[in-house]
C-alpha cells in the first residue's frame, strides 16, 4: 500500500511539537490523547484547514503546507471528506440538500446524478427515508450519518473525523462507528480523533498524543467482528500504560 499522508516535523505554536507519522492507503487510524493534547489541532493542520508553523505535510504526493488557501480548499473539496463532532450543517437546508451541497459546488449541472448518489449513500447507511427532513427533525445519530454521507459524496481518498461520536448516545455511536468500518472496508482511508477507547479499538492503529507529541503507537491490524472483545481489552490496557 502506498503512503497517502506523510507528516514530518509538523509544528503549530506550542500545541504541536515536531510531529511525524504517515498513513497508508486503506488504513483506519485513531488519534487519542487527553484534552488539550493537540488532537484536533493535528487534524486541522494535516487537512489544511489551519496553517502549520513548520514541517511538512504531503498528501497524495502534494506538499500542502505551502499551498494557498484556495488550493487547499480545492483539495478538501475533491479529495478529502470531513466528519465533525458538532455535526455542522446548514440549518435552513434539508438533509439531502446538506449532503449534496459541497458536491454540487464541485460539479455544477449534475444535480440529478448527485441526488441519486446521495440517496444511494443514505440508503446504504439506513437514513434513506429521511432525505427531505429538516435537520432539526432527525436524531443526532441520523444527522451524523448524514454528515458521513456528505463527506463521501466526492468519493474522497481520506476521511478526517473529529470526535464523530462525541455528541451521540451509545447506540447511535455504535451505528456511526459501524458506518466508518463499512467505508474503510471499501478502501477509503480514515483518520479519526476520538476520546473513546472502544471506538479506537476498531482501528488498524492508534496514535497516542500528549503535550503535542506522539508518545506511543498501538498496532491492532484489520478489524474483524470476531476479535472485537480482545482488541478492546488490548486497547484499554495500552491506554492505561500510556497514562490515560
Amino acid at each position: 500500500m502506498k503512503e497517502l499522508l506523510t507528516v514530518r516535523n509538523l509544528s503549530k505554536g506550542k500545541i504541536l511539537k515536531a510531529i511525524s507519522f504517515e498513513l497508508r492507503e486503506g488504513e483506519m487510524v485513531a488519534v487519542m490523547g487527553p484534552s488539550g493534547s493537540g488532537k484536533s489541532t493535528l487534524l486541522y493542520n494535516v487537512s489544511g484547514m489551519d496553517r502549520a508553523d513548520g514541517g511538512e505535510v504531503r498528501f497524495d504526493g502534494t506538499e500542502i503546507v505551502g499551498l494557498s488557501e484556495d488550493e487547499k480548499a480545492r483539495l478538501r473539496l475533491h479529495k478529502m471528506g470531513f466528519v465533525f463532532q458538532q455535526m455542522n450543517v446548514l440549518a435552513n437546508l434539508n438533509l439531502i440538500d446538506n449532503i449534496v451541497l459541497p458536491a454540487m459546488h464541485a460539479m455544477k449541472n449534475r444535480k440529478r446524478e448527485l441526488h441519486e448518489r446521495a440517496r444511494a449513500l443514505m440508503d446504504d447507511f439506513g437514513i434513506g427515508d429521511l432525505a427531505e427532513r429538516r435537520v432539526n427533525e432527525v436524531s443526532g445519530g441520523q444527522l451524523q450519518r448524514a454528515c458521513i454521507c456528505r463527506s463521501l459524496m466526492m468519493e474522497p481518498e481520506i476521511i478526517f473525523a473529529d470526535e464523530p461520536t462525541g455528541a451521540l448516545n451509545r447506540s447511535a455511536a455504535a451505528d456511526v462507528i459501524e458506518t466508518f468500518l463499512k467505508i474503510n472496508r471499501k478502501g477509503t482511508t480514515v483518520l479519526m480523533v476520538t476520546h473513546d477507547g472502544k471506538n479506537a479499538a476498531v482501528c488498524d492503529r492508534i496514535l497516542y498524543l500528549l503535550d503535542g507529541e506522539i508518545r506511543g503507537e498501538l498496532k491492532l491490524g484489520k478489524h474483524t467482528h470476531d476479535d472485537a472483545k480482545e482488541r478492546e481489552i488490548r486497547t484499554l490496557r495500552w491506554l492505561e500504560e500510556m497514562g490515560w
Binding site: S40, Y44, M49, A73, R74, R76, F82, Q86, L90, P102
Partner: protein, 758 residues
C-alpha cells in the same frame, strides 16, 4: 459599578456597532436641528426686517395718472385701513445705469429710484435704521453687494450723472432676487433731478389692521374702481418670495433629515436584532439566574440612552457649526433675526424628539428578548421572532438614499431648465424675451421691432404679446380688473394646468390665481369691456378655455387671442418672444436689438431665469451635491455594517463551507450576488420614488408660490447615469470592503466553540 463596567466592555468589544449607532443618532439630530435652525434664522430675520420696515399689507402698482384724493377718501371710509401711503418708483432704463463700473444692461431686474417713505415701507440700512440719503448719495439694494462686488464709496452712474454709494439697504418688499424690481434710495432732490430720465410708477400701499382679510380688501379696492394699472401684491406673497430662495434649501434639508431618521431607525433596529441573536445565551443565563426581564431590557436600553445623549449633543453642536456658513446668505439679505433664544430652544426640542423617536424604536425592539424563555435562550434554540432578512434593509436604504439625492437634484434641474419658465407664465420654446415698457409709444416701438424681426433671417419665430388692464364682469354682475395679454399664444405656450390656450376670438385663459379668485372653470362665461374709442366700452363675451400657471404680476393675469376689434385700451407693456435659428448668435443678436431703442429690454431667457432663480438654483445645486455626498456616505456605512452583520451571523456556516472546500472568492461571490439582487431593485425603486412622490412633494411646495401643475424637468444623464453610478460605486466599495471579512473566517472555526465579534 457592574453596569458601568458592562457598558464600557460592551462599547470596546463592539466598536463598529457602537460608532455606527451614535453616528446615526448624531446625524438625525444634526439634520433636523439644522433645518430648524435655518428655518428659524430665515423666518425670524424676515419677520424682524418686515417688522422694522413696516411692510405694507396690500400694494397696488400703478402706471399712469393717479387721483390721490379719491384713494384717500376710499381709505378713510374703511375701518380696516391703518395707514395709506403712495410711494413713487422712478423706473430707469437699465442701459443707462451702472454701479461700481458695471452696467446694468444685462440685469433682468427693473431698477429704479425711490425716496425714503414717510410712514411705512421703510428702506433699512445694514444697521437696521431707516436711512435718509444726502444729495449726491445713493443706497443700493443689498442683493447687489455680491452680484456686482460693490463697496461703500463706489459710484453709480445714471446717464451722465453720478451718485456715490453711501451704503446698502434692505428692502422688505423687493429684497429677493425673485421680486423683479429693485429700489435704489436717493434724496428727494436727486429724485427730482433724475425724473426726466425714467418713467414714474406708483406704489399705492396700505397697512391694514391686524386680522383684516386682505382678499376682501383687494376686492373692495377693485370694486371702488381705483387706479389698478399694474399688479397687486400682498404681504403673504412678499413673505413667500423672501422665504423661497433659502426656503428651498431648508425644505431639502428637512426632507433629507426625515429620510436619515428613517434609515437610522432601520439600521439601529437591525443592529439590535443581530446583537440579541448573538447574546441569546447570555440573556438566557441572566434570565435563568433570576434577573427580571425588565432589568435585562433596562441594561441594554441604558447603553442606547447613553449613545443617544452623546449623539444628540454632537448633532446639536454640529448643526450650530454648519448653520453659520449655510445661513450667511440669509443674514446678508435679511439681517440678523435678533433673539435666537427660542430658536435654539426649538432646535434642542427637535433633537430631543428625534432621539426620543429612535429610543422608542430601540425600546420596542429590545422587547423582543422577552418573548423567549430562559431555557430556550440558554440552549440557543428560540428565535427573536423570524430570523431577519438583512438584505432587505440594504434594498430599502438604497432606495431611500437614491430618493434623498433625487429630490434636490430634480428641483435643481427643473429650476435651471429653460422649460421651467413656462410654469412662471413665460412662453416656452423661446430663447429671447423682449420687454417694451416705460415709453409713451409702446405700440409704435413694438411695431418697429416686429418689422425688424420680420426682415431678420436669423429669426426662426416670434410672437408679440400686448398687455392692458381691462374691466371684466361675471354673470352675477360683480366686476374685476384683469391684466389681459393679447397675442398669439400658440407658438410660445405657457404651462396649462387645464384646458388650453385661447385659440379663437371669444376665448380667454386665466392664471390659476385669477381662476380661483373669480371661481371660474373651463367653459364658464365672463364679459370683458374693450375700449373702441367711443364713450362706452364694448362688452365682449368670453369663455374660459384654459387655466395656466403664472407667477408674474402677482400671479393674476389672463390671455386672449386678438379680438379683431379696434381695441384702444392703453397698452401697459409689450412682450415679444423670439426664437433664433442658430442659438449661438443670441448674445450678439440681443446686443444689436438693444440698440434699436432704449425702451427695449431684450434678455436671454437663460439669463432671465438666472436673474430670478440664480440664487435659488445655486443653493439647491450646492445642497444637491452635499446630499449626494451624504447619501453615499450613509449608504457606505450602512451597507458595510449590514454586510458585516450578515457575515458575522453566517460565520459558522461560512466556516463550515470553507472546511468543506469552498474558496473565499466563491463565498464572496454568493454574497455579492445577493447584495446586488437587493441593491439594483433598491436603486430602481429609489428612482421611481424620487420622480413620482418626490415630484408631488416639491410640486405642493412650489404651488404655494403660484407655479402650478409642477412636473420635474429631469436631467436624464444625472438621474439615470451619474446618480446610479455614484450610488453603485459607494455600494460596491462598501460591499467589497465588507466582504473582506469573509477572508478572515477560518475553516476550523466551525469545529470549535463559536467565536468572532462583529
Amino acid at each position: 459599578m457592574v453596569n458601568r463596567r458592562l457598558l464600557i466592555n460592551d462599547f470596546k468589544a463592539n466598536r463598529l456597532v457602537t460608532a455606527s449607532t451614535s453616528i446615526f443618532m448624531a446625524a438625525s439630530a444634526l439634520l433636523l436641528g439644522l433645518s430648524i435652525l435655518l428655518f428659524g434664522t430665515l423666518t425670524s430675520a424676515i419677520d424682524s426686517l418686515m417688522a422694522k420696515a413696516l411692510t405694507p399689507d396690500f400694494i397696488q402698482m400703478h402706471t399712469g395718472t393717479i387721483d390721490e384724493e379719491r384713494i384717500a377718501r376710499f381709505s378713510e371710509k374703511r375701518s380696516d385701513v391703518e395707514a395709506l401711503q403712495i410711494s413713487r418708483f422712478l423706473n430707469l432704463q437699465n442701459s443707462q445705469v451702472s454701479v461700481g463700473g458695471t452696467s446694468l444692461v444685462d440685469s433682468t431686474q427693473d431698477n429704479g429710484l425711490s425716496v425714503q417713505s414717510p410712514l411705512f415701507d421703510f428702506l433699512i440700512d445694514l444697521d437696521n435704521e431707516a436711512v435718509h440719503p444726502a444729495p449726491g448719495e445713493v443706497y443700493v439694494p443689498v442683493a447687489y453687494i455680491r452680484e456686482y462686488g460693490l463697496k461703500v464709496g463706489d459710484l453709480m452712474r445714471i446717464g451722465s450723472e453720478t451718485l456715490t454709494i453711501a451704503g446698502f439697504i434692505r428692502d422688505s418688499q423687493m429684497n429677493a432676487m425673485m421680486a423683479s424690481s429693485k429700489r435704489f434710495l436717493v434724496s428727494e432732490a436727486d429724485y427730482e433731478r433724475f425724473k426726466p430720465l425714467g418713467s414714474e410708477e406708483y406704489l399705492i400701499e396700505f397697512r391694514l389692521a391686524e386680522g383684516s382679510d386682505v382678499n376682501a380688501f383687494a376686492t373692495a379696492y377693485e370694486d371702488a374702481g381705483l387706479p389698478g394699472n399694474g399688479p397687486t401684491i400682498t404681504r403673504t406673497l412678499i413673505m413667500m418670495m423672501n422665504a423661497l430662495s433659502d426656503g428651498m434649501m431648508i425644505l431639502v434639508i428637512l426632507l433629507v433629515s426625515v429620510v436619515v431618521l428613517f434609515i437610522s431607525m432601520l439600521s439601529i433596529r437591525y443592529m439590535i436584532l443581530t446583537r440579541l441573536e448573538k447574546d441569546k445565551r447570555e440573556i438566557g443565563l441572566l434570565k435563568a439566574v433570576g434577573i427580571a426581564r425588565r432589568e435585562i431590557r433596562g441594561l441594554y436600553f441604558s447603553k442606547y440612552l447613553l449613545l443617544s445623549a452623546v449623539g444628540g449633543l454632537v448633532g446639536i453642536g454640529a448643526a450650530m457649526l454648519i448653520a453659520k456658513p449655510l445661513g450667511a446668505q440669509i443674514r446678508d439679505l435679511y439681517g440678523d433675526g435678533g433673539n435666537m433664544g427660542p430658536i435654539y430652544a426649538l432646535m434642542i426640542l427637535g433633537a430631543l424628539v428625534v432621539e426620543g423617536i429612535i429610543l422608542l424604536s430601540v425600546y420596542r425592539t429590545l422587547g423582543r428578548m422577552e418573548r423567549m424563555s430562559a431555557v430556550q435562550a440558554l440552549y440557543g434554540r428560540g428565535d427573536f421572532g423570524k430570523r431577519k432578512n438583512l438584505y432587505l434593509p440594504i434594498g430599502i436604504i438604497t432606495a431611500a438614499a437614491v430618493f434623498m439625492i433625487l429630490v434636490p437634484w430634480n428641483i435643481g434641474s427643473t429650476l435651471a431648465s429653460p422649460e421651467f419658465v413656462t410654469y412662471m407664465g413665460v412662453g416656452g420654446n423661446s430663447r429671447i424675451r423682449i420687454d417694451i415698457r416705460q415709453t409713451d409709444r409702446i405700440g409704435a416701438t413694438a411695431h418697429a421691432v416686429v418689422e425688424e424681426l420680420e426682415r431678420d433671417e436669423r429669426v426662426l419665430d416670434h410672437a408679440v404679446m400686448q398687455t392692458g388692464s381691462y374691466r371684466s364682469e361675471l354673470p352675477d354682475g360683480s366686476s374685476y380688473n384683469l391684466l389681459i395679454e393679447q397675442g398669439d399664444h400658440e407658438r410660445f405656450p405657457v404651462r396649462y394646468i387645464e384646458g388650453g390656450y385661447p385659440r379663437h376670438a371669444g376665448e380667454i385663459a386665466l392664471s390659476v390665481l385669477n381662476a380661483s379668485e373669480l371661481d371660474l372653470r373651463i367653459g364658464d362665461p365672463i364679459r370683458v369691456f374693450i375700449d373702441v374709442g367711443t364713450d362706452r366700452p364694448v362688452s365682449v363675451p368670453f369663455t374660459v378655455s384654459g387655466i395656466y400657471s403664472d407667477v408674474t404680476n402677482g400671479g393674476k393675469t389672463a390671455k386672449i387671442s386678438p379680438t379683431g376689434l379696434d381695441d384702444r385700451t392703453p397698452i401697459m407693456w409689450s412682450i415679444i418672444y423670439v426664437a433664433l435659428a442658430d442659438e449661438r448668435l443670441i448674445d450678439e443678436w440681443i446686443e444689436e436689438y438693444r440698440r434699436i431703442d432704449d425702451a427695449i429690454k431684450a434678455v436671454d431667457i437663460a439669463d432671465y431665469i438666472d436673474g430670478l432663480y440664480g440664487q435659488t438654483i445655486r443653493t439647491i445645486r450646492k445642497t444637491a451635491i452635499l446630499t449626494v455626498i451624504a447619501a453615499s456616505a450613509i449608504l457606505f456605512v450602512v451597507l458595510l455594517l449590514l454586510l458585516r452583520l450578515v457575515i458575522w451571523r453566517e460565520r459558522s456556516d461560512n466556516s463550515l463551507k470553507k472546511a468543506l472546500g469552498f474558496t473565499t472568492r466563491e463565498i464572496k461571490k454568493t454574497y455579492l450576488k445577493k447584495t446586488l439582487a437587493y441593491l439594483l431593485p433598491g436603486m430602481a425603486v429609489g428612482i421611481l420614488l424620487g420622480l413620482l412622490p418626490g415630484q408631488s412633494l416639491v410640486g405642493a411646495f412650489i404651488g404655494l408660490m403660484g407655479a402650478h401643475g409642477f412636473r420635474f424637468i429631469i436631467d436624464p444623464i444625472g438621474v439615470f447615469a451619474t446618480i446610479p453610478l455614484v450610488i453603485a460605486a459607494a455600494a460596491m466599495a462598501a460591499t467589497l470592503i465588507g466582504l473582506e471579512e469573509v477572508g478572515r473566517i477560518h475553516a476550523y472555526e466551525c469545529l470549535g466553540p463559536q467565536s468572532g465579534d462583529y
